[in-house]
Amino acid sequence: MPGYDDTFQTIEMLQSEHLDVRAVNMGIDVFDCADPDINKACKRVKEKILRCASPLIDACRKVSRRYGIPIVNKRVAISPIADVMAGHDINDLVQLAHALDEAAEEAGVDFIGGYSALVQKGMTVSDRALIESLPEALSQTRRICASVNAASTRAGINVEALLLLGRVLREIAARTAEADGFGCCKLSIFANIPEDNPFMAGAYKGIGEPETVINIGVSGPGVVKRAIEKFCGSGSCRGLGDIAEQIKSTAFRVTRCGELIGREVAEAVGAQFGIVDLSLAPTPQVGDSVGEILQAMGIDKVGGPGSTAALAMLNDAVKKGGAFASSSVGGLSGAFVPVAEDSALAAAVESGYLTLEKLEAMTSVCSVGLDMIALPGDTSPETLTALAMDELAIGVVNRKTTSVRLIPVPGKNAGERAVFGGLFGESPILDIRSDTSNDFVSMGGRIPAPLTSLNN
C-alpha cells in the first residue's frame, strides 16, 4: 500500500479535484467497407461500426464502475472518408453521412469523427467532393465530425483547399443559421493533423493505425487548476518553478489513471491500446477551464501580458509529467484554448482583454489553435481563409499541430453573442480588425513547405 500522504493525495484528486477520463475514442478501420455501390458501402460501414463499437459503452460503464472514475465521452473515429469513398460523388457522401449518423446513434456514442480529407499537397476528386458535401452533411446530421488537413510541415499550405473551405464554412453557417452557424463547430481544419487524436472535431483513424484502437483523452483542466490553487494557498510556493513541478506531478497522476482505464477498456473490447492524449480540454462548466488555470497562476485578466508565458509553462509542464508517466503519449497533448467551450476565455473576450491576435500568439505555444472562434456573419470567405492560413502557418513552421474551428455567425456582428449549447458553449463574437488581405489570399495555389521540412 502506498504511503498515507500519497493515498490521501490520490483520494483528494478523485474527490475534490473531480478527476475523470474526458474521452474514450475507438478508432475503427473502414477501408474494407468500400464499395462502388453506395447502398452496399453504407450498409457495410454501418455494420462494421456497430459490430466494433457496440461493446464500447458497456465496457466503459464496467471499467468506470470498477474504478469509480467517470468516463465523460465515448466516441468513434473512422478512416478518412474521402479516401474510403474514392469514386463517389457529393450525393453519395451525404448518404454515407446519414448512415454514419445512424450508426453512431445506435452504438450509443455521442460523436463520430473521420468525415475527413487529407489535402495538404492537393485535392483528389473525392477530397473535393467530401469538402463540397460538408454543408449538407454537417447541417443534416447530429453526430458527424469532420476534419480537413490542409497543411503540413512536409507539404506546405494548400491555399486552394483553404479558399474552398472558406466558401464552405459560410455555406455551413448559412444552413445552420438558426443555431448561430453551429454546423461549423463540427469542422476542424488542420496543419499536421495527428492520426491518433481522441478529441473532436478532429479525431479520425489514421491510415497507419491498427484495425481497431482505443485512444484516451485524460481529465480536464479542473484537476490542474485545483492542484495549483491548493498549492499556492498552502503558502509553499516559492516561484513559478514550484508551480511547474505541481503541474507535472498532477499531469503524471492524471495520465496514469487515463492509461490504466484506457488499457482496461481496450482489453474489454478486444482492441489495441493506442495512446493517452494529455490535452487539457475545457468544457463550458465553471471550474473546468484552461483560462481559470492561468488565473490560478496569477494572470488576473486572461489575454493580458504574461498570458502566453503562463500558457507555455503550463503546456510544457503537462507534457513533462505525462511523458514520464507513460510511453503511450500521443494525439495532440497540449492545452486547448477553445473560446466558446471555455467560460473564462469567453469572459475574457467579452471584457476585451482577449483578442483574436492575442489568441493567435497563445496558440503558438500550445495546441490546438484558433478553436471555437465566433466571427461576424459577413466575414468574407477570403478572410476566413486568411485567418486559417495564419494559424496553419504557425503549425507548419514550428513542426506542430495547429487547427482552426471558425464560425461565421449568420446575421450577427462583433460584440454580439453566439450560443451553441451543451459542450460547445457560447461566446461573444470576436472582432476582425482588418479584412483587406483578399489579393494575397485570392492568388491561391500552395505556400511551399518551409526549409525546416528538409530534415533528412
Binding site: P2, D6, T7, T10, I11, R66, R263
Partner: protein
C-alpha cells in the same frame, strides 16, 4: 523445523526487535516474515518463524520473555497452520478511507458493514488528531460482490456520520504513486 506465528506487545523502547530476534536465533530459529509498528508509545510485533522441532511452544515464549524486564514483554506463540486452499477466495484489493469529525461508533459501524458484505480487512490504520478522524483500510472484495453497490453504501454510511468515505481500487493508488509501467498492473504483477 516447525513454523510458528508469534506476537509481542510492550511499552516501546529501543532494542525490542533486537531482543526478540536474538532470542529466536539462540534457539536455532529462522525468521521469515515481520510486521512491526508503534502506536501511542506502544510496540507491537508479529513474526513468522521456523524453529527446530525440539523446541516447545513454552520454551519459545520464555526465551523471548527473558530478554525483557519482568512482565515487560507480552508474548503469544501459536503453531502456524496454513490457510486451506478451499478458504482462499478470489478477490480484488480496494482501499477504504473515512475522514471527518470524530465521534464514537464509526469503526464499529463501518467494519460491521464490511463483514456483512463478506469483505475481509487486510490492513487497518486509523487515528484521531485534534478531533479529526482518519481511517485507512485495505480490504479484499470477493469476486461477485458489486463494487459499485458497496461504494454507494460506504458513501451513504459516511454521510450518516457526516464523514467523507471513499472506496477505491488498489490499482488507482499504484498507478498514481508508483513509477513502474501501468501495463504491469494490468498483467497483475
Amino acid at each position: 523445523m516447525k513454523d510458528y506465528i508469534l506476537t509481542v506487545m510492550a511499552q516501546d523502547r529501543v532494542g525490542i526487535v533486537r531482543d526478540v530476534a536474538s532470542a529466536l536465533t539462540e534457539l536455532g530459529g529462522n525468521i521469515t516474515h515481520v510486521s512491526q509498528t508503534v502506536m501511542c508509545g506502544y510496540f507491537t510485533l508479529i513474526i513468522s518463524v521456523q524453529v527446530p522441532d525440539k523446541c516447545s511452544l513454552l520454551e519459545i515464549r520464555q526465551a523471548i520473555e527473558r530478554k525483557g524486564s519482568v512482565g515487560e514483554l507480552e508474548v503469544n506463540v501459536r503453531p502456524y497452520e496454513p490457510v486451506p486452499e478451499s478458504q482462499i477466495r478470489k478477490s480484488e484489493r480496494f482501499t477504504l478511507t473515512i475522514v471527518g469529525k470524530d465521534r464514537p461508533g464509526i469503526i464499529a459501524r463501518a467494519t460491521e458493514h464490511l463483514a456483512s458484505r463478506n469483505i475481509n480487512i487486510d490492513d487497518f490504520y486509523a487515528y484521531v488528531l485534534d478531533g479529526r478522524f482518519v481511517m485507512l483500510v485495505q480490504v479484499s472484495i470477493p469476486e461477485g460482490v458489486d463494487v459499485d453497490d458497496v461504494r454507494s453504501e460506504i458513501e451513504n454510511l459516511g454521510k450518516e456520520f457526516e464523514l467523507t468515505a471513499q472506496l477505491q481500487h488498489e490499482n488507482i493508488f499504484r498507478a498514481t504513486n508508483e513509477v513502474r509501467p501501468v501495463i504491469d498492473l494490468q498483467r497483475g504483477s
